[in-house]
């Protein structure tokens, strides 16, 4: 399920995009899975369809989602494509900014390292659990 905060400073389309990216990383969404249609998602949230279109367009530009005429928006398979250098550079810049923000706010470097490690561990555990569940289901 996607959960968004309507009172957050982060725009709703960005939150939708972020939640889907997180679900892909955890393995909740796998290559080939069909996303809810724009109308269905907008209907469930009670928001303008244009907001969902913007979120899906953003995912499409990043190569995480592709359009299939039969199944609508589906999760793309990025495992066989080499990650573009431009993405890695941009991502590194964002991580640097995020870590700098934490340190500038007075969070200790050890605490920052611990938290990052916790987040990575949490995502990887979820990923393995999903892989196991998928393998059990396939058997």
């Amino acid at each position: 399920m996607i959960e968004i905060d309507p009172r957050s400073e982060v725009p709703i389309y960005q939150q939708i995009r972020d939640r889907i990216v997180e679900a892909i990383a955890r393995g909740d969404l796998r290559p080939g899975d069909s996303l809810a249609s724009v109308r269905q998602l907008a209907g469930q949230f009670g928001i303008n369809s244009a907001t969902v279109v913007k979120a899906y367009d953003s995912l499409r530009q990043e190569g995480l989602v592709r359009t299939n005429h039969k199944s609508g928006s589906v999760i793309g398979d990025t495992s066989e494509i080499e990650t573009p250098e431009s993405f890695v550079n941009g991502w590194e810049d964002r991580v640097r900014t995020l870590i700098s923000e934490a340190l500038a706010q007075g969070i200790s470097d050890v605490s920052v390292m611990d938290r990052i490690s916790d987040i990575v561990t949490h995502i990887v555990h979820a990923q393995y659990a999903n892989i196991r569940a998928h393998a059990d289901g396939a058997l």
Partner: protein, 370 residues
């Protein structure tokens, strides 16, 4: 055997039914929507909410008693005025009382800024497989069409033996008030109307499948599914009941008018049977829904931290009318009572509604006796 029920007695029965419906109304709202006002989950046990629901119920009983007095007084003057004025006066008064009492909760919510610290969230399912639309049960509509076809066959077989003049209008006691020369429209008008009504209700049932499943952020996925399934089932059952009851009623009255054209129609027992059938299904559905939702409510109260739906009061007028131009939904779950509310902010919905009303008015105008 004749059924003679005075206008006062029928008004009294109508009022009892209306009082029962309005007394149950506060219980049919979700805990976070008392009297149609959106509130955070940690405020569901506020004293003002309980006292407002109690005061509203007392007001309903008082208005009911006053309406009985009004019906008794009017029955001495005019039978028709009793039947029309009494229920309308009751409903209008109760709606006004509802608005007045509801404002107490709105004021308390605004003055206390109840949503200030609320953790509001919006939740939706991510994948297409989780958004499968529920099915429409077709058998009641098929049964309705079967009743209509059988009745039409009976009418077709007996067409030749029917008199040249046939009744086209009856008054509320069932006595013939207008007649017309025998024609296909006059003979099959009633049953054709019920066929159109059945088709319209079937169309509406299919349209209802598209009502988006709004998930309460505090609901687990299974609870959200239970709530959505229950609401869908209630709406579908009521539509199917109206379709089948209308077909049976139209069939029975058509056959009675063909068998003995100049005899009064048993309109009163037929109407009572219609409402009894509709009422029984409604009460059964409401009881089932309340029982099922009691489990969900228990989870609300036991939850350590509440996640709330966003405050969308600005799109609800009086807690009854929904107008949100940003919401693509044609219908949304009602805040008060059970069923769905039309989204008057959706242009496609407004156009469809206008076309529907125009079609009904045109049909009534064209089918009215000259």
């Amino acid at each position: 055997m004749t059924f003679a029920i005075s206008s006062f007695q029928s008004s009294l029965a109508e009022l009892c039914l209306l009082v029962a419906v309005f007394l149950a109304m506060p219980s049919l709202s979700r805990p976070t929507m008392p009297m149609g006002v959106g509130i955070p989950g940690d405020r569901v046990d506020e004293q003002i909410i309980r006292s407002t629901a109690l005061r509203f119920r007392v007001a309903v009983v008082c208005i009911g008693l006053l309406s009985v007095g009004l019906a008794a007084a009017l029955s001495l003057v005019s039978e028709d005025a009793t039947k029309i004025v009494t229920p309308v006066a009751f409903v209008v008064s109760v709606v006004i009382a509802f608005g007045i009492f509801r404002n107490r909760i709105v004021r308390a919510k605004q003055e206390g800024d109840w949503f200030k610290d609320a953790k509001t969230r919006m939740v939706a399912t991510m994948t297409a497989k989780d958004t499968v639309r529920p099915r429409v049960r077709l058998w009641p509509y098929m049964a309705s069409y079967a009743v209509i076809i059988v009745t039409s066959l009976v009418g077709w077989i007996s067409y030749g033996s029917l008199p040249d003049e046939l009744p086209t209008l009856w008054n509320s006691d069932g006595n013939v008030s207008a007649q017309a020369a025998k024609s296909v429209t006059v003979v099959f008008g009633g049953i054709l109307g019920s066929a159109i009504a059945t088709s319209g209700l079937l169309g509406l049932a299919h349209l209802m499948r598209h009502v988006p499943r709004r998930i309460h952020p505090n609901d687990a996925e299974s609870q959200a599914r239970l709530r959505a399934d229950q609401q869908h089932q209630i709406g579908q059952s009521l539509l199917a009941t109206v379709a089948l009851s209308t077909a049976i009623l139209a069939s029975a009255l058509s056959m009675a008018s063909w068998a003995e054209p100049n005899q009064p129609l048993p309109l009163v027992p037929a109407t009572i049977a219609f409402f009894a059938c509709f009422g029984a299904v409604t009460v059964f559905q409401i009881v089932t829904y309340v029982m099922q939702m009691r489990e969900v409510r228990r989870d609300y109260l036991n939850g350590a931290s509440f996640k709330d739906e966003p405050d969308t009061d600005q799109y609800w007028f009086g807690g009854l009318l929904y107008l949100n131009p940003n919401d693509p939904a044609w219908f949304v779950t009602r805040r008060v009572g059970i069923g769905w509310a039309i989204n008057f902010g959706n242009p496609a919905m407004v156009i469809t509604l206008a076309v529907f009303i125009f079609a009904i008015v045109t049909f009534n105008t064209l089918s009215a006796p000259q």
